[in-house]
């Protein structure tokens, strides 16, 4: 195994690993400060914050020869015998000078800067900077201009790392951003008439190590040190990006991608990034309601307390019989499994189908390899895997509509939970009319719809950050996540209702349900035990358990 010596400490790296000094030092617990380097972008080695001393140990003699100058850690690959020195006097002085240089023309307006608290310029200054400013220049201008509909540029805070420019060239492939002028007069800008407007644009704000780029959706909404972070999964499409939900007091303020080499690398799309506002939409369904007028013409609803819902829902559906259930691809694997179990306990012959799978456009892959899926739900694969345990045919939404239209159902339970606003409502009046003849219709959704207008029971659903459980994305990768925020007062997440309807005691425990599913189904056995933060590939275990390799 190749050995790298970081500040005197030997660490082993993989025989075929290609690491730079920053990555290798990190393995030894040493952080080499850096601005311009980002693992998802090309190396430019221009900020010069990562300068270190390096050397090479001779394999035969053990003698170490040092390079007689500083080198950028980001640009320098390590190999067997590479010596890295991250703390020498020369290195420290060089860092202090780079910090000093970056602050020469910086407006130092931290008190009014949104990045304060998560700014590398601040952090590095405290750690590596000089206590006193030697530049007797009074840099006081702080200009702001929008570079696109979502992103604003605080021109004078920029440290010219060009991460934003490289992102638009290399990952989104749109190239809207550029560097104008030369030397210390340089600025980031967009070309007139070509604003930063692409489906991944929001990233440039994440990538900006300082407060130069601001997200207008987040700007001045919340000080970052108030934010709490929960590892989540985006529910916006079947890619299922790993994300971090940043929230405070049950309010989401922003979403950020979470690094996951198997799913989204470092990225997420803007639709997902800004796709949390529906959580706080006042139009949401907020209580469990039962229609008082039996003929459904009246709009009179009675709010029912949740403990009572648990019993009456079961008895209403049992009385009607002939149950058909739509298992929404917005539900988690655990919720889907409990829903099927509840349905079969009410009606052993219940017809179970995958709920409506919303689609929009076609899959879109960017030059950096990132894909936005046309399938706008996170868990079709998970729901299908669960349904297969109950009905190998795994009927879909159209089958369910045919089933209902054919008069083979007397009651239905439709879970939905689709975020609004879609370009169009997820269900139109014609489709909803198919359910008109049923003696009992339960609709569980985030927002009122043509279908909930038909319902006997109108139940609230919860949004992505309000759930806990497992989703399986388009690549058959299962990711488990915790609930980030509590749903609005008076709303039980689907999981809690189903847990209670199954007669389980105590708080809803998705992990217990997941273990139970894993034990019952060989295809989902991998979900037993701890699932890493980056998820697990279910396909591999499914292939193994079936014993038949598939061409996919």
């Amino acid at each position: 195994m190749p050995q790298v010596i970081v500040d005197g400490q030997e660490i082993e790296i993989g025989a075929h690993e290609r690491l730079n000094c920053i990555e290798a030092a990190r393995r030894a617990g040493k952080e080499i400060p850096h601005y311009c380097w980002h693992p998802g972008l090309s190396v430019v080695a221009s900020c010069r914050m990562c300068l270190i001393e390096t050397g090479q140990r001779d394999a035969a003699t053990g003698r170490i020869a040092m390079v007689p100058k500083l080198v950028p850690g980001c640009q320098t690959p390590v190999k067997d015998g590479t010596v890295i020195v991250t703390e020498s006097a020369l290195v420290k002085e060089s860092r202090a000078r780079v910090e000093e240089a970056l602050l020469i023309d910086h407006p130092i307006d931290c008190p009014i800067c949104d990045k304060a608290g998560e700014c590398l310029l601040q952090d590095y200054h405290f750690e590596h900077g000089q206590p006193q400013r030697r530049a007797d220049l009074q840099p006081f201008h702080s200009r702001r201009r929008d570079v696109g509909p979502t992103v604003t540029l605080f021109v004078d805070r920029c440290i010219m790392c060009t991460r934003c420019v490289r992102f638009t060239r290399e990952v989104s492939g749109t190239g809207e951003l550029m560097v104008t002028s030369r030397g210390a007069k340089e600025e980031i800008d967009s070309f007139p008439g070509f604003p930063l407007d692409n489906k991944l644009a929001g990233h440039v704000v994440d990538l900006c190590p300082v407060g130069a780029l601001g997200d207008r959706d987040f700007l001045y909404q919340q000080r970052v040190w108030f934010l709490k972070h929960e590892a989540n999964v985006c529910g916006g499409c079947a890619t299922g990006c790993s994300i971090i939900t940043e929230h405070n007091q049950d309010t989401v303020y922003r979403l950020k991608p979470r690094e996951n080499p198997h799913v989204n690398k470092w990225w997420m799309c803007d639709e997902g990034r800004y796709g949390w506002h529906h959580l706080h939409d006042p139009a949401r369904l907020l209580s469990a309601e039962r229609r008082t007028a039996p003929d459904r013409s009246g709009a009179a609803w009675q709010t029912i307390d949740w403990p009572e819902v648990v019993d009456r829902l079961r008895s209403d559906l049992a009385a009607a019989g002939g149950l058909a259930v739509a298992v929404s691809p917005m539900l988690t694997v655990e919720e889907a499994w409990m829903l099927c179990a509840v349905a079969r306990s009410i009606d052993p012959a219940a017809f179970l189908a995958v709920g409506h799978v919303p689609r929009q456009g076609s899959d879109e892959t960017f030059p950096g390899g990132f894909t936005i899926r046309a399938e706008k739900c996170p868990n079709r694969h998970g729901v299908e895997a669960v349904l297969a345990l109950f009905d190998p045919a795994v009927p879909g939404w159209d089958d369910l509509l045919a089933h209902v239209r054919g008069g083979r159902a007397r009651s239905a339970w439709v879970t939905a939970g689709y975020p609004a606003p879609w370009p169009a409502p997820w269900i139109d009046a014609d489709t909803a009319a198919a359910f008109a003849g049923l003696s009992c219709l339960v609709v569980q959704d985030l927002f009122p719809s043509a279908l909930s207008d038909q319902a006997t029971w109108r139940l609230p659903a919860v949004g992505f950050a309000e759930r806990a459980g497992t989703w399986v994305n388009a690549g058959h990768r299962a990711q488990c996540f915790e609930q980030a925020i509590r749903p609005p007062a008076g709303v039980w997440p689907e999981g809690r209702l189903l847990w209670n309807m199954l007669g389980r005691r105590g708080l809803y425990d998705p992990v217990a349900v997941r273990r139970q599913i894993a034990g019952a189904a060989a295809s989902l056995a991998a979900l037993d035990g701890d699932v890493p933060a980056t998820g697990i590939d279910l396909r591999i275990l499914q292939l193994a358990s079936n014993g038949t390799p598939s061409p996919a």
Partner: protein
Amino acid sequence: MAPIKPVLLEAVGVPDGHTLASYRARGGYAPLEQTLAGKQPGDVVEMVKASGLRGRGGAGFSTGLKWTFLPKDHPGPIYLCVNADESEPGTFNNRILMEDDPHQVIEGIILSSYATRASTAYIYLRYEYPQSWHRLQGAIDEAYAAGYLGKNIRGSGFSLDVFLHRGAAAYICGEETGLIESLEGKRAWPRIKPPFPAIEGLFRKPTVVNNIETMACVAQIARRGVEWFRSIGVPSDPNNPRDPGSYGPKLYCLSGHVERPGCYEAPLGITARQLIDHYGGGVWKGRKAKAVIPGGISMGLMTEGELDTPLDFAGPGKVGCLGLGTAAVVVIDETVSIVDFLHNSCRFFAHESCGQCTPCREGTSWSLRILERIRAGKGRLQDLDLLLEMGNTMGMMPGSTICGLADGAAWPMKNAIRKFRGEFEDYIRRTNPDGWMVTDPVPALAIVGAH
């Protein structure tokens, strides 16, 4: 050192010397024809290696050695980029070659392309040289018409196209990888190395970058032979096995405060004093020199006492200068304030820094503003230490930047302050009698001072 008969400048003063007919009458293109008829590309590489020719663009890298870095048997295209961006202050020898003897340059380009197996050559021309542009383009057209360029040159099976590209007036486009980026239609931000251009250059293909004068030297070596070339200049230092010597004639650009400024062809190794006195007619107006720039402003300063330094590739380094550079010798007479000189130098580099690397971008701009303040009568002695610190830490040599522009900006700072510190101190004491000694930290932000 005995004067030599001009070879590179042979056509200067010859009526219509820039035409094909005149060049041929002087023996031009015959070496090319002989080479194409009887020699292999490898023979040309060996010839140039044996001549000891070192690049004339500034760094003085051995030309033949550079060519051998190209991958062997490369299946795809190889490019030759000829650097005619000539923007180093004080330098104008490329211009004279292009205007007065463009065919000499083109013959050198064809020979070099043959040697390196390049099938396309680009000449990257400084924008401000309209006459060079006309002359070069005219010569290229003539060479095509005469069958020296194009497909199957003189029936040899070797083909070459030459394109003349006019830059947009930025010093950094002369840095070889900045030049390549600019040719590709991008901002001329020098690339990080490795990979070096010989492996991955223009359009990500193996590329050689050579200066115009280097090309002219190749043509003359082919015409006059290796022995002739090695008979001129300074042999390698026997005590230094890594010194490749400084062979051949060199075009020195003499300017500033001399009686007869101009471009003079002299053997490498002539001293600055010989150059000024024998060719330049001495410092003008009977004055004395205060300082002399040995090879373009980036190379720093020699004092009057250092003028006997030989201007070969090793000489200026021995007196603390960066190197021979472009051999552009600028004389600064005793009436000039070194403070003004350094201010002017800093202004140039602050304007020309490409702005990629933090130490160069901010250092060149900060040093300029310090010099502006000193000249405004607000200097302090401690500023000199700050400037020195910047000079010592900025550049490729300390490892803090990508390209050599920063070293070039640092050298005049270092040399001026080290060699003329007394003058700086006197200036500061005289112009800032109340504040020269202050060492308090400067209040950074009066506006938010309440914090």
